[in-house]
Every structure is written in structure tokens, then in C-alpha cells.
């Protein structure tokens, strides 16, 4: 997919594909415009020099094939956050035929900044003035012809929301691609810096004669940029490091000014002069309710509580739709048992599982009718179809979580929530934005891990992905509820078991993220708060739909096949052994036959190690093996082993003491993320090594903590007169 070096001039005609890159500040409606233009048919691909997959879509206008690349929204090209790094790497390593920079027409002075910066580097830059509908309502006028003359490019007014102006935009894009319109690099006067810019420019021209960007721009970036950006530029264009730093030092010593401050200020000065007298705006009056809402969000403590309330209500709705939880438990406790059951029966997960059990019955009886052996029938229905069902049953949840995510972002609420919780999270090396994945994680870790895409800082994102599996998800809650009920019928002891495990998990989450950000990344505190507060918008259904659809499909593609394969392997481990296939009829007659399976065999090998934490029994280990696939698998494994469906009774029959049951609960909630979560970690951090690291770290922590609790309890409980 490289298109770095297509130096020969293209003759427009059928079959040619032109590359157009979309960029701009965050919050200017870029994604929604991208979806408008591509019709929502979005793909991901690798681009030369860029480490992250970028979205692209294809379209054809007047017979010209256009491939549109969606670059992430960014403010600058420094190494500060992921988005900026991606945009910088793209610009330095790729040469699209045209850049389209999206600006917010109602905040042109700030949002035109990246367009001006690009125009210094590259001649073909088209500027889109988005939010034309809002500008019209506010009686805001921009003298577009005058700006087009000054910048020698097109400025096109559009409304990504209503679709107004898109036809004109496509015509103008094609004008550039066919060569009917030729852009020109702009030149901003940097005053006293000019001689130094000139010296660098000459050096760049001689060391990198076929450079695809304006040498003057590279010179300016060298002066303006931080150490990292300078290093990247020097390496990319093969420049002489000593010479570059000599010029920079000369400039700093001769002029005694802060170079980046001077350059950015000059650029904004250019923009002010450019726009002065060309924008007519009646004074902006913000609605009272917006001011009131912002005041509330920014109040210490109260703002944080308000944010948590919004998130709580949001997730309550999502998780209730998905599994009935937690509304079913609340309804059950206040006496509406039948309503609670109905909520569970008609939840999305139940409907999906109903569909798959019907499907597997149908397939099973058909295979039976054509005399397929029981082993293969069950391999297909219990192994394969159940695996497919597991993948599919995650889709509604992933989709709903992304709907809420894009709703919060689109309305501008996400920024406010992040701001209100920033101080609390900063102590643990995180920013306020990391609340969202954590809250999602309490329902299910998988979409929680995927939701870290909203975080700006790469290191913070890794820290959250790494520590998130400690957050006890709903599946773990179900197992914990069953175990704590099996430990005792005393509600006080039940509550103690449950709460102590939740506290332990949250503590481990916080300690792990603190350790990572502080020890590994050397960040003393989380990032200082600096964000743009976008105006409140009503959400656009179209945008929510596209955003959520894209991320759900991406999850399906990345995680689906792995989950499927491992679920088949798990089924084989549990249902076959050295003696061959262990049939269901044998198991039904004698649950102890499971002892001959490979899974039990592995359990017996691990028995001496697990014995040190009181879990030497192969049945406990087999349950934990099943929990690796999905945490609720612990319950079904215990049910199969004992031949009893009621999980509380089953846990009592498995032959563990109360203390051992508690240790089982501790170990189960920490020991490893479930398989789909591991797959999500792999897909987000990009490497199996990282996923492996997370699993090993959690296994070690789980073992250590279980060991400590077990040893203390073994000594302490008899002293207190409590039987173990």
C-alpha cells in the first residue's frame, strides 16, 4: 500500500486511484464528514512509516477513483500523544495527492491553524469550513473569495450533519486531483528567524534533494520542534545532526528568544491578519443552561459525583439490555421476581443464546439423522457452535458500549466527565478520561479494553489496558455470588467475602496502573489538565451508528477466530482423554469419569503447585481451566463435575472447605483475564508478547495473594477458634 514514490506525473483517466488525506483539529466533525463521503464503507490498513492502522474508504466522483484516508484529530505534530505521532509519521512518510483540512467555521481562527501549517509544507491543501449550518444560524459570515485569493486554494462550506455542500466539495477535490487547480505553498514571515531558516533550508535541499515536503517547512519544524521531533526529522531526511544543532544554538543565543513560542506566535499573527475584516460575527451568547451545566461539572467533588451518576445510569441501561443485570437483582430484591426473570429472558444475551441452542439442536438432530457419530455431533454443536455463540454474544455489548461512548463524545459530555474526574485519577498516573474504560470494565472487561481507544496518551493507554483485567466483571460477580453463598448462609459473611474481593481487585487495579506509569514510564503524576471544551451538541444518530458499527466489526474480525479456535481446544480437553472420547451418557451416569479427561490430567500435574494455596484438588483446577475460556465457565465446570445444576449446591459438593472456597474465589477473580479479554488486549496493544505479559503478571499476583491469605488464615483461624 506504499505510495511514497510516485514521482511521475499522473494523467487522469480510468483506473487511476488518487489519495486524499483528511485531517484537522479534534472536535471539528471530521469523522462524520469522512463517513458522509465514504458512505460508511470503512477499512483499515497500514501506511508506510505509520505504526497504527488508519481508516480509509473509497469513492468515485466524475469517474475519478479516490481513496480517502482518515487521519486522527490533532493539535500539533509534537510527540505528545498518539494522534499527533500518527499524523506526523503520515506526513513525513507519505505523499497523498491532496490534503483536506476540516475546520470549524464557528471557530475559524483556531481551527484553521493546522491548515496553515500544512500549507507551509505542501501545495495541495483544500480547506473545508464545517458547521456551516450553525454559522448561518448565528449570522456568521466569512469572506471566502478573499481568503481563497490569499491562500491560493479552495475553501468549501459544508455541513457534515445535513450533507449540504458535499457535492461542491467533491467537485473541488477532483479539480485538484485532475490538475485543473494547482495549489502553492504559503510563506509566513518569521522575522529575525529568517536567516536561520535559510541556512537550514539550504542544508536540507542538498542532503535530501528529492524531498516530498517543502524544505522551508522542514527547517521551520526543526526550529520549532522538541528534541524528539528534531531527531525524527534528522533521521528521516538524512540530515547532519551537528550542523542542525549548531544553527539552533546560534538562533537561541543570538536572538535570546524561545524559538517555538516565536514561531507559533508568528503563525497565529499571520492567521489574525488573514482573517481580520473577513469574518463578521454577531456576539456569541451561550445559552444559560450550558453555563449552568459547565459550572456543575467543574465544581470540585460535586462535578465528579455528577459524572459518575451519568456513567452509572448509562451503563445501567446498557447492561440491563444486555443481560438484565443489575436491574434484575434489584427487582428481585424488592419482590418483583417475575419481572426480574422476564428481564433476563428477553435480554440480548439470552436471545442470542436461545438462538444458538435452537441452532445447535437443529444441526445436532440433522447430523444424528445422517448417522454422524456422537463425538463429531458434539464437537460441532458444543464446541464449534458454542464458540461462535460466545463470539456473537459479545457483539451486542460491544456495540452498545460504543454507542454510549460516541454519544458522550458527540454531545461533548465526555470531555466534561474527564475534566471533573481528572484530579482523582491523576494521583494514579492517569487522566480523567480513563474513567470510561474502567466503568465499562465492571460490566465486561472486553469492551472496557476496547474503550481505551478514547485515551490520548499512549503510555496511559497501555497502563489502563494492562491493569483493567483486575476490575471484576459481571461474569466474575456471578461466580463470586455462587461461591460466597456456598461458603455460608450468613448474609454478613457473604457480604464480607464479596466486598473484600471487590476491594482487593480495585486496589490491584490502582496499584498496577500507578506502578506502570511511575516505575516503568517515569511519570510522577498523571498529565496536567489541558483540554478543549467543545460546545454541547445534540447527538447525531448517523454518527453513533457508524462509529459503533465500525468498532464492533473490527472486534469481530480481530478476536473472532482466536476465540473460536481456543473454544474448540477447550472442548477437546474437557471431553477427551488418554482413553479417548468421554461420552455424555458416561458422564451423566458417572460424573467422576471426567477424571479421565486431558483437562483433569493437566489439573493433576498442577496439583503440587496449587496445593500450596490449598487448591490441590484436580476438580478445583479443572474449574479454573474452564474459567480461562470464560469466567462463568467455572460454574458450568463445577456443575459438570458434580452432576448438580444448582451452582451453590455444586460448590458445596466439590469437596472444598470454606477457606479453600474463599481462596478459589480470590484466585479466580485475579488469576487471568478470560480468553476474549486476552484477545482484546492483544488486538489493542498489538503484540502477543504484551498479552502474554499481562497473563503472567496476573497469574503471579493471584498466586502470591492466595498464598499469603491461605497461610495467614491457616495459622490465624484456629487461634481465633474458627474451623478452617
Amino acid at each position: 500500500m506504499s505510495f511514497c514514490d510516485h514521482s511521475q506525473a499522473k494523467v487522469p483517466g480510468a483506473g487511476d486511484t488518487y489519495y486524499v488525506a483528511l485531517t484537522g483539529n479534534p472536535n471539528v466533525g471530521k469523522s462524520s464528514l469522512f463517513n458522509d463521503l465514504t458512505g460508511g464503507e470503512v477499512y483499515v490498513a497500514n501506511w508506510p512509516g505509520v505504526t497504527v492502522d488508519l481508516k480509509y474508504g473509497s469513492l468515485t466522483h466524475h469517474g475519478i477513483n479516490i481513496r480517502l484516508i482518515d487521519l486522527p484529530g490533532s493539535y500539533s505534530l509534537t510527540m505528545g500523544d498518539e494522534a499527533e505521532k500518527v499524523v506526523r509519521d503520515f506526513i513525513l512518510n507519505n505523499k497523498p495527492d491532496l490534503y483536506v483540512v476540516i475546520t470549524d467555521m464557528t471557530a475559524l481562527e483556531r481551527t484553521i491553524y493546522p491548515a496553515i501549517k500544512l500549507l507551509e509544507a505542501f501545495p495541495n491543501v483544500l480547506i473545508v469550513l464545517n458547521m456551516a449550518d450553525i454559522a448561518k444560524r448565528r449570522a456568521l459570515h466569512v469572506d471566502i473569495e478573499a481568503l481563497e485569493r490569499s491562500l491560493n486554494t479552495y475553501l468549501v462550506k459544508v455541513s457534515a450533519l445535513s450533507g449540504e455542500g458535499l457535492g461542491v466539495l467533491l467537485d473541488r477535490i477532483v479539480d485538484f486531483l485532475t490538475g485543473r487547480k494547482k495549489g502553492r505553498v504559503i510563506r509566513i514571515d518569521y522575522g529575525p528567524l529568517e536567516p536561520y531558516i535559510h541556512r537550514l533550508e539550504e542544508h536540507i535541499k542538498s542532503s535530501s534533494p528529492d524531498i516530498h515536503l517543502s524544505p522551508r517547512w522542514v527547517a521551520i519544524e526543526l526550529l520549532e520542534g522538541d528534541k524528539d521531533l528534531r531527531k525524527v526529522l534528522i533521521e528521516r531526511f538524512g540530515l547532519d545532526e551537528d550542523f542542525i544543532y549548531r544553527v539552533i544554538r546560534d538562533a537561541e543565543e543570538d536572538l535570546k528568544i524561545d524559538l517555538s513560542l516565536h514561531i507559533i506566535r508568528s503563525r497565529y499573527g499571520f492567521i489574525s491578519r488573514l482573517l481580520s475584516g473577513r469574518i463578521i460575527e454577531t456576539r456569541l451568547i451561550r445559552p444559560k443552561w450550558m453555563e449552568a451545566l459547565d459550572t456543575l461539572f467543574l465544581k470540585p467533588y460535586i462535578g465528579a459525583l455528577f459524572s459518575l451518576l451519568i456513567l452509572f445510569v448509562g451503563f445501567m441501561i446498557i447492561f440491563t439490555l444486555n443481560t438484565g443485570f443489575p436491574l434484575n437483582i434489584i427487582l428481585d430484591k424488592i419482590g418483583f421476581t417475575s419481572a426480574a426473570r422476564m428481564l433476563e429472558e428477553y435480554s440480548l444475551v439470552e436471545l442470542v443464546s436461545l438462538f444458538f441452542s435452537l441452532l445447535s439442536d437443529l444441526v445436532g438432530s440433522w447430523l444424528f439423522s445422517i448417522d454422524v457419530p456422537e463425538f463429531y455431533i458434539l464437537l460441532i454443536t458444543d464446541g464449534l457452535l458454542a464458540g461462535v455463540g460466545a463470539v456473537v454474544s459479545f457483539l451486542p455489548l460491544v456495540f452498545l458500549v460504543f454507542i454510549l461512548n460516541s454519544f458522550l463524545q458527540d454531545t461533548g459530555l465526555y470531555t466534561r466527565i474527564a475534566v471533573s474526574l481528572h484530579d482523582a485519577f491523576r494521583r494514579f498516573g492517569l487522566s480523567g478520561k480513563s474513567i470510561y474504560p474502567v466503568v465499562v470494565g465492571f460490566g465486561c472487561n472486553v469492551p472496557g479494553i476496547l474503550a481505551t481507544r478514547g485515551l490520548d496518551d499512549d503510555r496511559e493507554r497501555t497502563a489502563v489496558v494492562f491493569s483493567l483485567p483486575f476490575i471484576p466483571c459481571q461474569a466474575r460477580l456471578v461466580v463470586l455470588l455462587a461461591i460466597s453463598s456456598a461458603i455460608s448462609s450468613d448474609p454478613f459473611i457473604q457480604a464480607f467475602s464479596l466486598l473484600s474481593l471487590y476491594m482487593l481487585s480495585i486496589l490491584l487495579y490502582l496499584i498496577t496502573s500507578k506502578l506502570l506509569t511511575r516505575r516503568v514510564y517515569g511519570m510522577k503524576k498523571g498529565p496536567e489538565l489541558l483540554m478543549e471544551l467543545p460546545p454541547y451538541h445534540s447527538p447525531h444518530i448517523k454518527v453513533l451508528w457508524w462509529y459503533s458499527k465500525f468498532h464492533t466489526i473490527a472486534y469481530l474480525k480481530k478476536a473472532g477466530s482466536i476465540i473460536l479456535i481456543i473454544s474448540l481446544v477447550m472442548w477437546l480437553l474437557l471431553h477427551t482423554g488418554p482413553v479417548g472420547y468421554i461420552s455424555t451418557s458416561v458422564l451423566r451416569a458417572n460424573p467422576g469419569a471426567l477424571e479421565d479427561s486431558y483437562a483433569a490430567f493437566i489439573g493433576k500435574i498442577l496439583s503440587p503447585i496449587m496445593g500450596l494455596i490449598g487448591l490441590g484438588d484436580w476438580r478445583a483446577i479443572l474449574a479454573l481451566e474452564a474459567g480461562f475460556f470464560a469466567k462463568e465457565g467455572v460454574i458450568s465446570a463445577v456443575a459438570t463435575i458434580t452432576g448438580v445444576d444448582n451452582p451453590v449446591v455444586a460448590f458445596n459438593l466439590i469437596g472444598l472447605t470454606k477457606l479453600q472456597l474463599y481462596i478459589l474465589a480470590v484466585f479466580m477473580s485475579i488469576y487471568t483475564p478470560c480468553l476474549p479479554a486476552i484477545t482484546a488486549i492483544k488486538s489493542e496493544l498489538g503484540r502477543f508478547k504484551h498479552a502474554f505479559l499481562v497473563v503472567s503478571y496476573e497469574l503471579v499476583i493471584a498466586y502470591m495473594i492466595s498464598f499469603i491469605i491461605y497461610k495467614i488464615a491457616v495459622y490465624l483461624l484456629p487461634v481465633l477458634g474458627i474451623p478452617i
Binding site: T78, G80, R110, L298, K299, M531, L533
Partner: protein
Amino acid sequence: MDKTLLFRAGCREMASRMSLADVPQGRRIRVVDIEGGGYRIQKILDMGLTPGVEAFVRQNRFKGPIVVDVRGVSLVIGRDFAEGILVELL
């Protein structure tokens, strides 16, 4: 007003200059200087809060973050960070 801060910033007229963190809400200001270095400074400059620019302090409750309207957008800035932004009242 923090005198050491003004001294460090090396400004000549001490009269109306103060840290952004100390500006009461509802006042117009002009940015004089931004202390420190590195990525955060570069980012706030790129976001439009450059020396010389006029801005409006939309919210400052002397606890928690500060909201500043500048170049047509609202920025929310943490208190620690705002301490290092030197402004004059208009």
C-alpha cells in the same frame, strides 16, 4: 499575587500582571508569558493561547480547573498549569 513568580518571569511593569490562576472569572485578559518548556507548552501554544492574545476567563472558582475562551474556542486548564501562565488584566 506571587512576587517570586513575577520576578522569575522577569517582567518590567509589575502593576496589572498576575498568574492566570488568580484572575477572577468574567475578566478579559491578555497573555504575557508562559513559563516552563516541553510538550505541554508547545501544545497550549498550538491550541491558541499565545503571548499577546486576548482571552476571556469564563470560569475560575479558585479551586479546580479554569476555563478560558480564546480564538473562538474554550480551553479548560488545570490549576497547576495555570499558575505558570502570566497575564495582564484588560
